[in-house]
Assembly symmetry: none
Homo-oligomer: 165 residues x 2
Amino acid sequence: MLAFCGQDKSSVDSNGRVKFSPRTCSDFKNRCNGEVVLHCLSEGALAVYPEEIYMQMRRAETRPAEKAGSSLVFRRNLRRFGSLSSSEKVSAQGRITIPSGIRKMLDLTPGEEIVVVGAEIGVEIWNAARWDDEIEKINSHAEEKGEREMKADLDYSEGSAGGRE
Amino acid sequence: MLAFCGQDKSSVDSNGRVKFSPRTCSDFKNRCNGEVVLHCLSEGALAVYPEEIYMQMRRAETRPAEKAGSSLVFRRNLRRFGSLSSSEKVSAQGRITIPSGIRKMLDLTPGEEIVVVGAEIGVEIWNAARWDDEIEKINSHAEEKGEREMKADLDYSEGSAGGRE
DNA sequence: GTATAATTTGGATTATTCTGGAACATATTG
DNA sequence: CAATATGTTCCAGAATAATCCAAATTATAC
């Protein structure tokens, strides 16, 4: 059975909390016993990853201390992941509290309509309006890519009489 | 005997559910005991694949966590497959529920006329009007390709008297 | 240092939606 | 024409979502 998939509409409660669907809850329960990392993405959503997944993501950075001494780009990268990530635990009621510092940044303030989106390795929490923009971008990109593939298929047959294979 | 072939007209019930034909039901029963993955395609239909088929499709992605940390394209890909896919089980009555989040996106809202189309590795659920457009596109593409092939065949014989082979 | 207030957290209750199944109607085949 | 298989509709039970409230912890002021 697929983990971390689908979309769930929800909202931020008056205390800045979000409740996950039962599906998502059990996915987190199974994978990491509810131990997650919240990470603020530059595209404007809050990623929620099992702790282990986040560790893998950061393990990609090797020898950070050495690089940090000489590279501003690298220091800013450490800073970005450090300041915009934090550990949380999904509560017994299946809720997490969004850190107040990043609520305004992501339009996830109390009362806002949100969408919890599966991303295979974890989920993402989007402001509903922002998600509409994002899915539109994703779809139009995929469409354009498809159109180009169809065009290439026609051009291909022109170049090789008898067709492919 | 061919699996996942042909077309069946049907409709979406008041609760957003679709009933498969007995043929399609037994195809899913045989292949995957009814465990399927629904995936929203960019061309505007809902693909229904046996879970194993979908897993093969996605196994192409290796080391997803590491790539996700540094690539927007990669994150959007995870997001696309994650948010637009979900596990379902064909019920004892041969029905599946279309996730509400993707109903509007695909014009598969309650009451809509639909067509369940065989696609060899699984089936696709199309809004009836959209399916008419799609089959038109498929046919005209094939026609155009045929025309170009015939033309290329002429050009070929021009260059080498005696024809090919 | 203590008491009060405010904020946060966890839980329980109520209302709504969803799911599965049964019953009935329709179509098809022998 | 009858019998079987299929499609459709409707309803009851269950699961889920939303709201509200109480307890606890923290912060602040005196």
